[in-house]
Assembly symmetry: C2
């Protein structure tokens, strides 16, 4: 952020009165431009004992398998966003249920919310952002070809809970470890 | 949004290729400026059988009682944000526990996340945004002087669950009814 989106003047970084965080403040009109974390919302689409996954047709993680999920839009609920992403990426109509996982990605300023969801109709089709979609039993999950740690951890918790017949809402954080190799620390809250 | 925050050129509204939502697009550098819902995070601070509330020293709802909550900052987790807001507004140090309520406010493009939290120390003090803070037993909650529907619904669910000894994570939506009088429709998800 260099310029004010309201009046096009230069921005400066300063702590406003009665605040304790540095903000982008317009040197022209004085408007304060706050930065906010972003919400990613998605589903675990269930059909009988199978889960619907999508293979990514976009970067990052092109070609890897993922749960349908994406950025929440303004004006929708988290559940509406999760259903919309599932329709867009997997051509799948779902009834969104319980919030299943909340994962913080604080270095990326992202919060991931994944919901359990029942497929209304098993006729599905890859959307523009997917190479293909597929149904997977637990033994068929492509664990070494999953897109993000959030997807792997959500599926790991899901199959663990399914075995025990109790689905609680889980939360945790995924922290990128510094260095050239993509490594993550996963913390599941107690 | 009128101008590009990256290059100060005029923005236009158009649907980018491979997208299906109108976006703010820069007529100079082509950057797409996405709008995002915002996250409000807060706590139900518990001390023995009492709840800590703050009386708002800021608009909107000046003078009304509220749960400590506010906008999440970039770089923090939702739990860190909830603890920070509780410290800033009520001078209260808490151990943040389970996600308790998720409320959508789609007309305002807000998502509220409220966590159960244990007070570490009952020495509390009103912060800059609070007129006073106070401990309330269930019978003492100022139901007609609460700030927002989200606060009232969260407390209502909380005391209901406490009576039954089971605290599940709840979600729902709060929809502002059109018209000059502030009225809301509250939907609690099954």
């Amino acid at each position: 952020m260099e310029y004010c989106s309201h009046c096009a003047s230069r921005l400066k970084i300063d702590v406003p009165p009665r605040d304790n965080h540095p903000r982008h403040i317009c040197t022209g009109c004085g408007m304060i431009h706050y930065r906010s974390p972003k919400l990613v919302v998605g589903c675990i689409p269930e059909w009988q004992d199978q889960i619907l996954l999508c293979r990514r047709a976009i970067e990052p993680r092109y070609g890897l398998w993922t749960l349908p999920a994406g950025f929440m839009e303004v004006g929708e609920t988290v559940q509406e966003g999760a259903a919309r992403e599932t329709l867009e990426e997997a051509g799948a109509k779902v009834k969104v249920g319980q919030l299943y996982t909340l994962f913080n990605l604080p270095r990326a300023s992202l919060v991931n919310l994944i919901f359990r969801a029942e497929l209304i109709d098993p006729n599905v089709a890859a959307g523009e952002e997917s190479l293909e979609v597929g149904f997977f039993r637990e033994s068929e999950i492509p664990w070494s070809d999953l897109s993000f740690p959030m997807v792997r951890e959500t599926l790991r918790l899901y199959f663990h809970d399914r075995k025990h017949g109790i689905f609680a809402t889980h939360s945790g954080s995924i922290i990128r470890t510094p260095g050239p190799i993509l490594r993550y620390q996963v913390i599941i809250d107690p």
